[in-house]
């Protein structure tokens, strides 16, 4: 104990005390420095925004633009990383909100101001998050010349780098979409959202081999294929889509059911009914959602049967909603003999829900 007190007194406490004082000083100095630099940063931000707006919307030729840009370089501390970052972010914002010639101007500025080399530096940096930032710059500013720099990271061991590199590469090279058929790994939920966003933002043409996407053994690629088919309203492979209902994977089944209703594949009715009893609650619910869209009077007996026998209230409510779509009289008859069904009928007929 005495030894411990000795250590505390002569080593640990002084070390902690010095650390505390240093930490306090660092905290305050950093904050004061930030506050001092804030007006300068704000004025530069305004300057950059005004300049970019004028230049992007101007109809001057490239020579004049180049001259103006070199003068602009002298007015802002473009050698500082924070300034480069700020200008790039402004450019991205403009790019996302502009189309045509003005959007092309943004790319031109990006190169003339040599900000592309800054992004390249970020990609070469050892820190993963900087690499991702660099990929994002190239992707958002549509800097196709940067593709060779991204390519080595397409199969990177780090899943985040790999994903972001792939997304940037796909975005810059529209034809690469075809290669998804061969994608070796699982495409995560967020990655599929990112890919769909690229389809949406870049107006990529539908991949020519989309039929093959839904024939792979990689269920995540199949799911992406189904989403893509829905996006392009591509109905040519209805048979193959419906056949996917026989797969064991519930996540895939759910995607198939969404596709069935989104593409209005009415021929799927019997298949949906045939798998109903053996499905999980979630899939049953999706089946009824789809039947509500693609069904007709032929499914009324099935629905009546479900309403009378189903014990899960959520599923019963879906069945009531579905029957309400095709035969209100039949539903009223069921409501007359079962008060619970009557309440559900009121719910599904409520116009504000």
């Amino acid at each position: 104990m005495d030894l411990f007190i000795l250590y505390l007194k002569y080593y640990i406490i002084p070390t902690l005390l010095i650390s505390t004082v240093l930490l306090t000083l660092v905290l305050l100095f950093k904050r004061i420095y930030y506050e001092q630099k804030k007006p300068l940063r704000e004025s530069i931000t305004n300057k950059v925004e005004i300049f970019l707006t004028e230049m992007i919307l101007s109809k001057s030729n490239k020579e004049i633009l180049r001259k103006n840009l070199s003068e602009f370089r002298k007015e802002i501390p473009l050698h500082k990383s924070w300034c480069k970052e700020m200008v790039i972010n402004d450019m991205i914002r403009f790019k996302q909100n502009l189309k045509g010639k003005s959007a092309e101007h943004v790319n031109y500025f990006y190169q003339v101001l040599k900000l592309n080399t800054y992004s390249a530096g970020l990609i070469r940096d050892f820190r993963n998050y900087n690499k991702c930032e660099g990929f994002y710059h190239y992707q958002a500013l549509d800097y196709k010349e940067g593709m060779p720099l991204i390519k080595p990271y397409l199969k990177h061991s780090n899943i985040i780098i790999q994903s972001n590199a792939n997304m940037a590469y796909i975005s810059l090279s529209k034809n690469i979409m075809e290669s998804f058929k061969e994608f070796p790994a699982k495409i995560s939920f967020l990655n599929s959202i990112k890919i769909m966003d690229i389809f949406h933002e870049k107006k990529v043409p539908m991949p020519k081999n989309i039929d093959e996407w839904i024939a792979t053994n990689n269920n995540s690629v199949t799911r992406l294929g189904l989403k893509t088919m829905v996006y392009y309203n591509y109905r040519n492979r209805s048979k193959e889509i419906i056949a996917l209902l026989q797969k064991e994977d519930d996540v895939l089944k759910k995607e198939v059911l969404i596709t069935v209703r989104e593409l209005f594949l009415t021929e799927a009715k019997e298949d949906l009914i045939s798998i109903f009893d053996s499905s999980s609650v979630e899939i049953k619910s999706e089946i009824l959602e789809s039947l509500k869209v693609i069904g007709d009077e032929s499914i009324i007996p099935f629905l009546k049967h479900q309403i009378q026998l189903e014990t899960n209230k959520d599923i019963k409510l879906k069945a009531v909603d579905c029957l309400n779509q095709f035969n209100k009289t039949a539903l009223d008859e069921l409501a007359n003999i079962d008060p619970d069904t009557a309440k559900m009928v009121k719910h599904v007929r409520e116009i504000y829900l």
Binding site: M1, F4, I5, L8, K9, I12, I13, L16, L17, S19, T20, L23, T24, V26, L27, L28, K30, R31, I32, Y34, E35, N128, Y129, C132, E133, Y136, I160, S163, N164, S188, F189, L190, S192, I193, K194, M196, D197, H200, K227, K313, D314, L317, K343, M344, K346, H347, R349, E350, Y352, L353
Partner: protein
């Protein structure tokens, strides 16, 4: 003889305190590293997907915001408008009027053009009777639904009625007077979508709105609180959210997601029976039950925390209200630990049994008791002349500086990342608060905890006090 026995007892107590303190400090050192790692990982991972992409997507998970309201007539309209302005492609707002005796419901009906609807209400979690559901006739407010129910004397009961009425797979539980950042839903829902392992709950930092500029339910400017008690609580919140919870999140050990702001998997929450209306710490109790359920069903799960302040709430400004709140929290803690005592060291519950619950017992529940016995030991030894002044002073200085360092690290992280305060003067104030907190504020907390334990073990009936809230430029009353 007695002299010797007391001397021996104090000596044993000294050794116990020594071992306990060293363990405590070591744990905090480990937590600080974990917290640093978790925050930097979070920041790096942010680059994985731009939040704009999620905002544009049709494929995101739907979220129901569940916000109970009791006698909130003064601000309810502003609060709902604030919630309606959140950015997320697929969400609904469920306001539960928990038997308000003021004009809360009338104001909602008038302002948002509500009509009573035929809603098929399934009481998946048992609550006090629901009188009706209301929806707006105006499509602008189509996201809003109001559930009118009998008062259940607890937020838990009202929240459960909201969960029963929710249509989406995730629900965000908040207090109606909390001010949320626009992207709150997106930030809290993101972990549910980006993890392969099932995420059952997420939470984020809560800050104090007492001196902030709030206009019609929208946060205009963040300020450091003007009053003493909110200032100490600000410090407490920064430390607890950035330091403690991020570290626990890193090792998937969170046992608490605040009632003021937490997102949950609806299916799991319903399966475990929702919030327990008799609990005084219903948020902690729900998470404990959710963990228990996942362990029992051998399902892998995650509970994630986000190191960002997404919610601003009003905290007690007077000692009386603060003590009452902290007493209730302490009762909630001991109640939850007692209720789930059989989980401790039961191999079925893995990490929860061997790490989390023992930690909460040792370093949350026991600390106020040990401090209390410390005062007795100190007084006794002083009277009987056993006091080793050198030991006392050295250890006290060590503990004080260590605590100060931990608090300063939290403030530094917060300021580097979020610049939450208006200027450096507010930071200086915060540092001063940190320096005096152990002498001024901490004893109050210890007292409140001991009182809470005492009331729990005496089985005194639980009471929800009245807290006078300033509101947004007005004064209103509501339950604390």
């Amino acid at each position: 003889m007695i002299h010797n026995i007391i001397n021996q007892l104090i000596h044993f107590y000294e050794i116990f305190i020594f071992i306990f303190s060293v363990t405590y400090i070591l744990i905090y050192v480990i937590l600080s590293f974990l917290s640093y790692y978790a925050i930097s990982k979070h920041l790096r991972y942010q680059k994985f997907i731009s939040e704009d992409i999620l905002t544009r997507s049709n494929h995101v998970l739907g979220v129901s915001i569940v916000a109970p309201a009791f006698n909130e007539g003064v601000n309810i309209v502003y609060n709902v408008k604030s919630l309606l302005s959140l950015t997320y492609p697929k969400y609904e707002i469920i306001i539960i009027n928990d038997g308000s005796t003021d004009d809360t419901l009338t104001k909602l009906i008038t302002e948002f053009e509500l009509v009573k609807i035929d809603f098929y209400y399934q009481e998946k979690i048992v609550t006090r009777p629901v009188k009706g559901h209301y929806k707006s006739t105006n499509p602008i407010y189509s996201k809003l639904m109001v559930v009118d129910k009998e008062n259940g004397k607890s937020k838990a009961d009202a929240s459960n009625a909201g969960i029963n009425s929710a249509q989406y797979p995730l629900f965000l539980c908040t207090d109606v007077d909390c001010i949320l950042k626009r992207d709150t839903i997106l930030k809290l829902a993101k972990p549910f979508m980006e993890n392969e392992t099932k995420v059952i709950a997420t939470g984020a930092g809560i800050r104090i709105s007492n001196s902030c500029e709030v206009e019609e339910g929208f946060l205009h400017k963040v300020h450091f609180p003007k009053d003493w008690y909110p200032r100490f609580q600000e410090l407490e919140y920064v430390r607890s959210f950035l330091f403690g919870r991020m570290a626990w999140s890193q090792i998937n050990g969170l046992l608490l997601v605040s009632g003021g702001l937490g997102m949950f998997d609806k299916e799991i929450a319903i399966k475990v029976g929702g919030y327990w209306h008799k609990s005084l710490g219903e948020d902690m109790e729900l998470i404990t039950r959710m963990r228990k359920y996942m362990h029992e069903n051998k399902q892998k799960f995650l509970i994630k925390y986000i190191p960002e302040s997404l919610c601003w709430t009003e905290v007690p400004e007077t000692r009386e209200v603060l003590l009452r709140q902290r007493t209730r929290w302490a009762r909630g803690l001991v109640q939850t630990l007692y209720l789930h005592r059989k989980m401790v060291f039961n191999p079925k519950y893995g990490k929860t049994a061997f790490l989390i619950l023992p930690f909460f017992f040792m370093f949350e529940f026991l600390v106020p008791i040990i401090e209390f016995f410390g005062i007795i030991a100190l007084t006794t030894s002083f009277i009987m002349g056993f006091t080793n002044i050198e030991y006392l002073v050295t250890v006290s200085i060590f503990v004080y500086i260590f605590y100060l360092l931990i608090t300063l690290i939290s403030i530094l992280i917060d300021d580097l990342l979020y610049k939450s305060y208006a200027n450096y003067k507010e930071l200086i104030l915060l540092i001063v608060m940190a320096a005096i907190e152990p002498f001024v504020y901490h004893p109050l907390n210890v007292f409140a905890s001991l009182k809470g334990y005492w009331l729990f073990f005496r089985q005194t009936e639980q009471k929800w006090g009245i807290m006078i809230r300033k509101g947004y430029g007005t004064i209103q009353k509501q339950t604390s």
